[in-house]
Symmetry: C2
Subunit: 284 residues, 2 copies
């Protein structure tokens, strides 16, 4: 999915959020915004939104002097998600269709991303979404493929959300499940440390993608991740950033995300905020 | 009210809206965004948001080759508002407190600004707001001052909204009411032509402020407008842009606006979207 002019104000807003969350003082906030504006002014150099976001957040790391400025926030998200985990898991296991509820939980976990500090009812909101239909849900396609699949790759998204991905990973057995994380911290995306804190080692083999962008950028991926990406029987890509990076990938793939951007929602033909589980057949 | 880092993403979003509304093609849209990013990168040169917005929209005029790129949109807003005028006026005249309802109408008219093309129910929404309490309403202060006032200056805001300002102007008689508009087109702010199309000549003396910014910038005002601003018995400033430009003005003033920005809402201590009629005593 190409970078558009619409991405520019959104990325500048995200830069301000990053400045407010990570900077030590007003001087550092200004420096983050100055650096973001310089990069945004050069937007034609970038093909996708995750590429430009990566450049912005590399600057945030440099200006804050922190390799992982969101570390405390990620740990808080994981802690909050772990508090909900048992209830969500009980809902999955009590269901007539555990795989469906696990998919809903993995999508609903994405709510934690932006909302957790603003809404104390977020936990209940996630659990409530397990009762609601998804805007798009290609569950049958997954069920059929799972019968013969030996390997499944889940490409993870944010810390916190990662806790709910355990529910999905558990439902994909007896296939061997790989769970991919970012190789370097980027915003609140899950790293190896975050995946371990989320308890994912109990149900999946953890693998680093090679990326340090909010989304998978194919030029950056490691040979080991590339091998999984091209040869796993099933690939499930989580979140909007990974969709933006891989929407044109030449392999069949399941995209599992909440549409947080009007352009992405438009791509899928669903209202903003919808939960989506879409099977996309090999495009080229 | 000073320009803050929060203004930057908001102004870039407004630039994209301007590009989409006024540019002829993608090339011109890009040129508008490129120009906006160049100006935003130099944000420390500007004191207030209206000053930076003025610079951005001067570029929009240059790039589109149009002195008034929003002219057709403004005419459409005025036409839509005129369709509501008789109903709103009947509500004012039937009320026990016509001045209060007229103030509410002048504030609610501000809804037209952003919403008219997105919501066919906007007309009903404006009329409904006449029944709702305002977040802040210093009506008594105005009523007392009106008893002795010979001159009232209303500093107008957007075209369309201007139609509802007639209801307020009519309630301020027998004082002589002056209605100030921008001297040059800027976004959808009312100019002399727009004020005439709105029917304001029937109830107020029209005057140009000297400004071509979305908000009154004191350095730009004409001697005639300055005379009114400093010597009118009552000054009513409409809209957020005029508040941003004049929040620190050393004279007593009534601010009548919808708080469309979190920072402005925070200044008044009200929720975002609130309608406000606030008397501010001379600050220095």
């Amino acid at each position: 999915m190409k970078l558009t002019l619409d991405c520019l104000p959104c990325l500048l807003r995200q830069s301000l959020e990053a400045a407010r969350l990570t900077a030590m003082d007003n001087h550092h906030e200004q420096a983050i915004m100055d650096a973001a504006l310089a990069l945004l002014s050069d937007y034609k150099r970038y093909t996708t939104s995750p590429q430009l976001a990566r450049a912005i957040h590399r600057q945030v790391k440099q200006i804050t002097g922190s390799a992982d400025p969101y570390r405390a926030i990620k740990h808080e998200h994981i802690r909050a998600a772990l508090e909900l985990y048992d209830q969500a898991r009980a809902r999955v296991l009590a269901s007539d269709n555990p795989l469906l509820i696990a998919i809903k939980a993995a999508a609903a976990g994405n709510l934690i991303d932006a909302a957790i500090y603003r809404d104390i009812e977020i936990g209940q909101a996630i659990l409530n979404r397990l009762d609601l239909p998804m805007a798009i849900c290609d569950l049958d396609e997954l069920s059929c493929r799972l019968r013969e699949a030996k390997t499944v790759l889940i490409i993870g998204d944010n810390a916190g959300e990662s806790v709910f991905d355990r529910l999905l990973a558990e439902q994909l057995k007896p296939a061997t499940v790989y769970y991919a994380v970012k190789s370097q911290p980027i915003i609140n995306d899950a790293t190896l440390e975050d995946a371990r804190l989320s308890g994912l080692e109990s149900c999946a083999r953890l693998v680093e993608s090679g990326c340090d962008s909010p989304g998978t950028i194919l030029e950056d991926i490691t040979p080991a991740f590339a091998d999984l990406l091209w040869h796993a029987d099933i690939v499930i890509s989580k979140g909007q950033g990974n969709y933006e990076g891989m929407s044109d990938i030449p392999r069949d793939i399941f995209f599992l995300l909440k549409a947080k951007c009007p352009l992405v929602a438009g791509h899928f033909g669903v209202p903003l905020g919808s939960d989506i589980f879409r099977y996309q057949a090999q495009s080229s």
